[in-house]
Amino acid sequence: MSSERSRKAERIRQIMATEGDSVERNARGFNEGRYESVARLEDYDAYKDRARAIKEDAIERLPELIERVRETVEENGGTVYVADDAADANRYVRELARERDAETVVKSKSMTTEEIDLNEALAAEGCDVWETDLGEFVLQVADEAPSHLVAPAIHQSREEIAALFNEYFDPDTELETAEELTAFAREYLGERIEDADIGVTGANFVTADTGTMALVTSEGNARKTVAVPDTHVAVAGVEKIVPTFEDLQPFVELIARSGTGQDITSYVSLFSPPVSTPPVDFDDDGPIADDPADREFHLVLLDNGRMDMREDDQLRETLYCIRCGACSNSCANFQSVGGHVFGGETYSGGIATGWEAGVHGQESADEFNDLCTGCSRCVNQCPVKIDIPWINTVVRDRRNRGAEDGRLDFLVEGLSPDEEPAGMDLQKRFFGNFSTLAKLGSATAPVSNWVAETLPSRLAMERVLGVDRRRDLPEFERETFVEWFRNRDVPRPVDADYHAVVYPDLYTNYIRTDRGKATVRTLEALGVAVEVPEVASSGRAPLSQGMIATAEDHAREVSADLEPYLEAGYDVVAVEPSDLAMFRGEYERLLDERRYQAITERSYEVFEYVYGLLENGVDPAPLRSADNGNGVGSDLAYHSHCQQRTLELEAYTTDVLERLGYDVRTSDVECCGMAGSFGYKREYYELSVDVGDRLQEQFEAPDAADRTVVASGTSCLEQLDGLLARQPRHPVSLVDPDGSE
């Protein structure tokens, strides 16, 4: 296990060193472009809803739609072949090539043909196969796999491509600029296209009612691939079918914006083959138009596991994916490593877990699945609203369950009152059962803190559990937040208008108790009657390790613990955004509808709650303002938590702080990189720090360097503490009337 972690750490380090810069520049560029482009689209959310509904309906009716496509394509004069798997699809296309004595095959970009390794199959048939998309062409020459769904050579810089081409093609004059490289490729591939016997494309969408293919491209190579050779083969997953031609519209509005941040790509080809353009025989000197348009068209619809995914309640959503790449671009980890680390055989980014598990089998997702930290930043970016982190959690859970019996289990046995199978990864089990550890650590603090920080302990933890020794461990408080509240001698307000439970999440209860205390004082100052009862931990920790059954237990306990308060009319105020995200998000899947509604409707992030009080006319005067900031300047640099931003709660914190006279500058990085236990794991420590560097850079820039750093999430605070010389603070400590931190 330990050497496996070292190997993984080494591989990540190496890819970050060689590909990290290009990937980061490109992915972040696409990501920024996406934010801008979707902001320009009126009805963006309505289009996403429509796109989602179309896909849900299409996958629901898929068998019927496949038959409909067969009819319409055949009516138009083409042929449809439904291939069971990769071998079946390859065999069909090989036979076509053989029958036509095809020597040259040109292809436009298609992830589906990558999935089945069609190029290898055609090469085995003796065909010369050429990728005409420039990104794919680079990969073909470099003999590499795609590192991104949309921009497959995202990991290569111009300089690297120039070196590659100069070496491989040995041109008369050395190629250097992007223009020269493009011109060279255009000419080289232009000749291949002129000679081509067969053109192979994918399809972004196939409409059932008209038998129309939609291809979304920018270079023009797909148009030539379709137009020049007389035989066109389109290979598309069965999930690409949409019911009607008009259904294409929302996707055309969304796909490029979501992907590369363009409002639309240069070309959206819509055609119901065979197309009416005459094929071009470049050896002929008569007018092209005289050429008889005897074209052939074959649509290969690929199953390869998709029909099983359709039956799988958890993986089904993956089939809605239009492969725009937004989930990759908005992913902090992906921005650092790209698809060669965060990806499987074919697919990359967060959704790759679903695709790889579905088409290549569960194991092919094993290597990279942990790179999804559940930060949820992709969720709002996905044009078809796929809950990508959930798919990752489910696949992780299945992996855990499939794990072999391990020998070292007894070591964490006492710490693992979970519902998970014996044999699952010890590291996951350790982090997943953090609540037990925290209880124990607090009960025996400060001794537990001293013991944990000794070198032999850290070495053992690193070796056995994979906890990186470069991280500071959390320090447990002897008196928990709940105990503090109970032992306090403060009269409760009578006749209060507002009643709230402050949720004692794991960190607030055992480790960062100060922010809990500050929250209580803040709410009480605003006239809220507060309670801090013992409540179970939310289940976030086990869930992020893929321990769904354990998380479900936690959720039920939380629900039972809170129920009397909810029934008595209390609201629930959460300090830790990742726990609030559980209540609002994952609990929908972990609890029955009634229990979920009861919690979700009444739970708030602390500043969301304060904002609501102020909006309802409560006087903010008792709160500490920037004027008496107790040594804290009035200028703040604020990093909102990833899940908090996904829930669109960032604005409440900034608004309240601004009302109290603070000047707030916010970060715009997607995630701090710590993401719960992720940054503690030995194999991911360096990646976590690389992601954190982006935040560090923003907060050390001249316009932020003198500001007090504020963050809402425990993880973010830990990460920032490690990265910056300044001590970051939770925002509630600033407004706490009695703040003496």
Partner: protein, 170 residues
Amino acid sequence: MQTQLETFETNLGSVRTAVTRTSPAAFQDALADVVDEPAIGAPLPFADVSLEGTGVVLEPTPDQLREAACGVTAAALGVADYGTVVLESTPAGAELAGLFPDRHVVVVRERDLVDDMAAAFERLGERFRDGDDDAVLATGPSATADMGELVYGVHGPRETHAIIVEDDAE
């Protein structure tokens, strides 16, 4: 408030497509100003403007296709919101003439403009069901960022120019 035509022109500009506005009567003069020789093209399916009698070769051979500097073809629709033109394929090879040469001059009639994609898809749906079922929504020149920087003119045209034929004032 911009008119539909103005919106179209503005958006063509932002997708790097130059614009010439002309009347049907002045069309061939306007064309002569923007065409590079040698030019090829496909017959325009319009009653009031035509490529007949211009220097544009209408039935090119493969060699002429390869050598052409400029291609002139018609657009079936223009989408104002995006600066997009809808290019239809024809047995005469309009798709090829708008794709191979370095410069693409597209002729679009003011009356064929629609506001947005929703309207465009409504029109296209009718056409596709009637059997006019090949169309490219083309927006600006061919482009790639795959070589490390944004470059125009990859497999398709490097320059695009729209000639908008105004409706006859009646």
